[in-house]
Amino acid sequence: MSTVTLENHLQQLTPLGQRLVWVIASLALAVAPHFGHIAAWTMLIAALAAAFRMTAEIKHWPLPPRWLCTGIAFAALLGVLAGYRTLNGIDAGTSLLIVMAGMKLLETRSVRDLTVVVFLSYFALFAIFLYNQNMLLLPYMLFTAGLLTMTLMRIHQTEVMPIREAATTTAKMFLQAVPLAALLFLFFPRLPGQFWAVPARQQAITGLSEEMTPGDVSELSLSSAIAFRVKFDGEAPPPRERYWRGPVMHQFDGRTWRYTGARETPQHIASSGATYSYRISLEPQRRNWIFALDMVTGWDHARAFRGEDFQLYARQSQISVLTSFDLESAPTYVTTTELRKEQRLLDTYIPRNRNTRTIELARQMRASAGSDEAFIQSVLTKFGSEEFYYTLQPPALDENAVDDFLFNSKRGFCEHFAAAFTVMARAAGIPARVVTGYQGGEFNPMGGYFIVRQSDAHAWSEVWLEGRGWQRIDPTAAIAPERIERGLDAAISSEEEVPGRVLRQSAVLSQLRMAWDAASTFWNNQIVEFGEAQQTWLLEKLNIKNPRLEYLAIGLIVALLGFFAILSVYLAWKFKPRARDPVAHVYEQLCRKLAKLGVPRQPHEGPNDYVTRAAQARPELAARLAEVQSVYVSLRYGPTPLATQLSRLKFLVNQLEA
């Protein structure tokens, strides 16, 4: 259908019908992004209601009677209740909102009803932010909110308002609202904690897991999804120190490594050398793991704790939205904790009947090396010198995964080397464990921060040496030192696919990618994440120490009231009726007095009729009113009013006793 005929069709509709088209279009745009996360039937019902309403408008069908509308609305309410088992919560609430907006369409008979639908659409639109706060949504939201405002404006005009004019006015209104929105955003009291936070919903998130089977990390490395971003205060540590610690694996069944869980344990860690303070912003994940730079030494104890394995955990059960932590770490450290007996047992355990060739080899090498340190060195030398190959596409391994890797395939990713090394150390009687996490990170010069992606996922080993505590040994550094120094791109041979390598090789694309990430990081950190802490910081910058929420709220309300008072006075002044006619003013006084005397003026009543009627109602005033009438009529409608007449009129009106 071409636009011309569409326009003709529109013009054939009644004025209400034309408005209805706009309202339905706006509603559709406001509801569309909810597709997928609320029950489809609710949207279907709303769509059917809209289609029915529009058909009724075109075919001049009568609208369903009130009892039927009420019945349908009640059934829809029950439907939502049955579907979600509650009317509370985001999903049920949003579904209800959408269904009811559809139901409201069924009884739109006037502009007033249409207004209600537009308001419901605003709510439905803003409910999208409860699901997704992505910066990409912003243009869509702005556009739709603008369309809703335009619709609201246009349905209230008796004359058809040109779209261009409506758009200009809407844009103006939006711009005028910006300062107010900014003020409220910055100073509206933010409540501490999770009060405003949106409950978590499940969605597919990639990331490190609680198990590590050969092939897991290399598979994860194919994803260029962002795990977290880090911004250092001051200098950043060199690449070889950028180990972001994740879950530590102790249990081994011959093939798969398992994580045992988090327990808060106070520990002594002696750090020496440089310390780095930084802010880490974690993307949503299924767990509460904070991938701190190894070894984390400073954190907010109210929000996070450090577990037995030196891993940092958030005190909430899941990091379901983008969350930031301010941390401090020291890459050079010594752990001084004694190794408990059961811990030693766990970390030297290997299944006896599995990987027997590896165990045999380790025992021989330990015997010839003489010391633990020499043994570790010889293993690393073996990895570095023999025909081992670092690849993102390691072959599948059998049940005796380490044997298969060390003696057959010799091709592996970091988890293969870390697992093999740990098994050999355990076979030689050295307590050892696998640590998973991330290594490296890409610097974004536009935002001045590091981006750590899933492709930076890494696994390394830790061994416990008498007198020196846990020591990090990264076998990957022995086989592919470029991986540690320069990242995955450099370590993987150019025949292999590495996610994002093509992007990184093109300067323009790489720049664009960095700019986009910097913008969305700003959006996430400064806008979405703006909370109590940032507000307190801002107020301190403005020299408001120890702000209290009540004072902030009162101050804000007073400021806003003051602002609106000034605005009202200004608008009243700007749009005041033409210079007040003093005669009209006196006449208004007269009308007020007569109204108090029980003779209010009808708006359409002329002065002669009115004063005559008043005189009839109050005969005692008749003589005086007659003079008032003649003077007023002469002043207001006569050809040559005299100044003296005005004072006479004022006098006469003042004399009237109300």
Partner: protein, 318 residues
């Protein structure tokens, strides 16, 4: 002529002259004072009048009495479906003695023309009259003939639901400054009518109370009646309301808004007001705008009188 103006004014106050005319007309048309005043206001404002009512309520009598009272030459044209434009404006006839065509003026060349049952004639005949009304002149065979001054047309019309009528289109209705209804007399007056003299005989006895010259002079006085800003605000508010209200197909035209003001000025003049009052506007409002507004749907007021009353109630006097 210049010297005559002051004499006329000093000789007789327009209010008194009009009062005498009105009184005389009221003796003939019983109980229709308001309509008689509207009729005279319309005449003074140089407008034309449309009387819409059922037959036999005194439309013709009113027109005839008015002509007699004002000493105007009077012609009645009975509109029928076979009426031709030439029957109204006149016809050129070949004169054998002079060998030229001679224009024989039709009935429209009178000062007061009664177009009786105007909606029974075909649109062609209707427009011949309406063009003459608008132009104040007639063009026939290339020659232009001015009409008489004063020139006043009273058209009567049966309500459109009667059979065999051609309702006037909006564009032609707009040319009538006012539209009034006479309606049935109330019972007491009707009894008087039944007992009294035949109205036609009564009309024959009427003597002029106003000369055509005096009438012309008073017509020139109408636009000079003072109009204050406050009153213009009110008139504009009324006009704006008719244009913005969704109840009507279209608002009133600028021609009609000028007409409204002129009619109010004429009303103010005959009532001796120094300037136009809101009440003057209200008095003529229904007659001036009632026939120009077409209700859009069932929710709007229907008859012209109802429409006038409705508009009046909707707009506040400033």
């Amino acid at each position: 002529m210049n010297s005559a103006i002051p004499t006329l004014i000093t000789q007789a106050d327009p209010i008194e002259l009009i009062a005498a005319t009105t009184a005389q007309l009221n003796r003939v048309i019983l109980g229709k004072e308001h309509q008689v005043r509207l009729c005279i206001s319309c005449l003074l404002a140089r407008g034309h009048l449309l009387i819409e009512d059922i037959p036999g309520v005194g439309k013709t009598t009113l027109a005839h009495a008015l002509a007699e009272s004002l000493g105007l030459s009077y012609q009645r044209i009975q509109f029928t479906s076979d009426l031709l434009p030439a029957d109204i404006i006149g016809i050129s006839v070949f004169d054998r003695e002079t060998g030229t065509f001679q224009f024989h003026k039709g009935p429209v060349f009178s000062q007061l023309v009664l177009a009786d049952e105007v909606n029974r004639a075909t649109p062609k005949a209707q427009s011949a009259l309406l063009e003459a009304m608008e132009e104040h002149q007639v063009t026939a065979d290339g020659a232009t003939y001015p009409l008489a001054a004063p020139f006043f047309v009273i058209a009567t019309q049966n309500p459109v639901y009667q059979i065999g009528t051609y309702p006037l289109p909006e564009s032609q209705l707009d040319r009538f400054l006012m539209r009034i209804e006479l309606g049935y007399p109330d019972p007491a007056l009707e009894r008087q009518l039944l007992l009294g003299q035949d109205r036609r005989d009564l009309v024959a006895t009427l003597a002029p109370t106003l000369s055509p010259q005096q009438l012309l002079l008073m017509q020139t006085m109408v636009p000079k009646v003072h109009v204050s800003d406050a009153l213009l605000d009110y008139v504009q508010a009324l006009v704006r309301y008719t244009r913005e209200s969704p109840l009507f197909e279209a608002g009133i035209s600028p021609r009609a808004s000028i007409g409204l003001l002129r009619a109010a000025q004429a009303w103010a003049l005959i009532h001796g007001h120094q300037g136009v009052m809101p009440e003057d506007v209200q008095a003529v409002l229904a007659a001036v705008v009632g026939h120009r507004l077409k209700p859009r749907d069932e929710t709007a007021p229907k008859t012209p009188t109802e429409i006038g009353q409705f508009v009046l109630k909707q707009v506040a006097v400033p």
